[in-house]
């Protein structure tokens, strides 16, 4: 047999690694989310200008971070899949996309809800908000391209090309606030000169960020596992067809 069908079916080592990580991710999600929400909603001081609406931040900002991070992860694993033809990398990218889209959506919605008290409107067409909307479109496009090809190997490649080309949007979102002055807050946590905000806000923010990350890892593992099993099934079906 010229090509080894089983390399798709049997990433055994990978499966055993992720089943070790999985319980940790579940517990971390529960604990960190609890602590982060408690600190954000009850411990952190209300803002002297914004009052309690500032608490939307603890949902919004980490969600926006995740949206960007997950796309970056997707692009990296797409590159790995494209260059080293590692099937698990493609599957990881595929499995991550809907989670990233969900975080993007969350950031958009919470941002819009926050915008009403802060800017007096749900939406403005500034560079960051627009590019974030486009990130959502990119996620959707990425998911759509997986559906558009019958052949999964082809779909993986096409989706990888799309993810890599689209990665240009990430720096655009990241630096949009610096390049064009807009309504949106400039970076205040991850700047060159260190965080610019008080630790009573920074700490719950970081905890929420970690909680979201743990949640992402958890869902990702579930989805990758499902993908691998499904693919194994397909390979078996094809092998079955060949027997006949």
């Amino acid at each position: 047999m010229a090509i080894d069908l089983h390399k798709y079916a049997n990433p055994k080592r990978f499966l055993s690694i992720i089943s070790v990580i999985y319980p940790w991710s579940v517990w971390l999600t529960i604990i960190l989310l609890g602590v982060g929400l408690y600190m954000g909603l009850f411990v952190a001081p209300p803002d002297y200008q914004q009052g309690d609406t500032v608490r939307i931040m603890f949902v919004h900002v980490p969600a926006a971070w995740m949206a960007l991070m997950i796309y970056t992860i997707m692009a990296v694993s797409s590159a790995v899949g494209l260059i080293w033809k590692h099937p698990v990398a493609d599957l990881t990218a595929k499995a991550a996309a809907p989670i990233g889209a969900a975080f993007t959506f969350l950031a958009l919605v919470t941002g819009a809800l926050w915008g009403q008290p802060m800017w007096g409107t749900f939406w403005v067409w500034d560079a960051r908000l627009t590019s974030m909307l486009i990130l959502l479109f990119l996620y959707l496009g990425y998911m759509a391209i997986w559906e558009s090809f019958e052949d999964t190997a082809k779909a993986a490649k096409a989706a990888a090309i799309l993810a890599l080309v689209g990665v240009i949007n990430i720096p655009i979102i990241r630096f949009s606030v610096d390049w064009w002055n807009t309504l949106h807050q400039p970076a205040s946590v991850a700047t060159m000169s260190g965080p610019k905000i008080h630790s009573s806000i920074l700490i719950p923010l970081l905890i929420m960020g970690l909680a979201y990350t743990a949640f992402f890892v958890m869902v990702l593992i579930i989805r990758v596992k499902a993908e691998i099993l499904q693919r194994r099934l397909r390979v078996m079906q094809i092998a079955d067809l060949r027997q006949r």
Binding site: I134, F137, G141, A144, S148, A158, I161, V165, G166, I168
Partner: protein, 222 residues
């Protein structure tokens, strides 16, 4: 190889002019947008001049977007793309020829009429000059990036919308720097930095575009 490259460009340009599909679609679309706009927003010169550069650039972007899906689709449908792909021209070069033909037929005509339309939107002379320059330098990116999207979606059932989703985010920097160049010229500031940026983007996409598009084409066709 060069001869084949130019033959392919010549054929595509000839077809576009004879069939009138690409040239007239983008050109008439461009003109229609600029004509309808004052009818829609009212004829106040100050408003028109204020939004003029933006309207012109957006119209150019849209005209390009609309013609993109024809870049490979027509040849795909009648089987000519099969023959081109198995022919002696490397696929990257083939893509480059298609991109050049697309730019010549769908975008160049529009740059030619842009100054006249800009005048009708009450843009000052400096702005018009900057606009033309910015279009010349910036639009090759549109064709080059567009080719990647067109290649990935050729023959796909819901190709059109995917194509837009794919290339639109990548068009936005061109739009923003393009408009910035015109605004700078109108405000009597230096346009050079914006044009340099546009040029840089074009060069970058000249390197990456054909490679990615060729990979996409091979993928969609096999």
């Amino acid at each position: 190889m060069m001869a084949r490259f130019f033959q392919l460009i010549r054929r595509d340009v000839m077809l576009a002019f004879r069939q009138g599909s690409a040239v007239t679609l983008s050109l008439s679309f461009f003109v229609i947008v600029i004509v309808l706009f004052p009818l829609g927003v009212g004829p106040e010169l100050s408003v028109l001049a204020r939004i003029g550069p933006g309207v012109l650039w957006v119209a150019a972007l849209l005209a390009c977007l609309l013609t993109l899906d024809r870049m490979f689709q027509a040849d795909f449908e009648d089987g000519a793309l099969d023959l081109l792909m198995i022919g002696p021209l490397p696929v990257e070069i083939l893509v480059l020829a298609k991109v050049i033909a697309h730019w010549l037929t769908s975008i160049l005509p529009l740059i030619v009429v842009a100054p006249v339309l800009a005048l009708s939107l009450n843009l000052p002379g400096d702005g018009i000059f900057a606009l033309t320059l910015a279009l010349l330098i910036g639009t090759p990116t549109l064709s080059l990036i567009g080719a990647v999207g067109a290649a990935l979606t050729v023959g796909m059932r819901r190709g059109g919308v995917l194509l837009s989703l794919l290339v639109l985010p990548l068009y936005i920097p061109v739009l923003i720097f393009g408009v910035a160049a015109v605004d700078a010229a109108i405000a009597q500031l230096s346009v050079a930095p914006h044009l340099l940026l546009l040029g840089g983007i074009s060069l970058g996409s000249l390197v990456l575009g054909p490679l990615a598009a060729a990979a996409g084409l091979r993928l969609s066709l096999s």
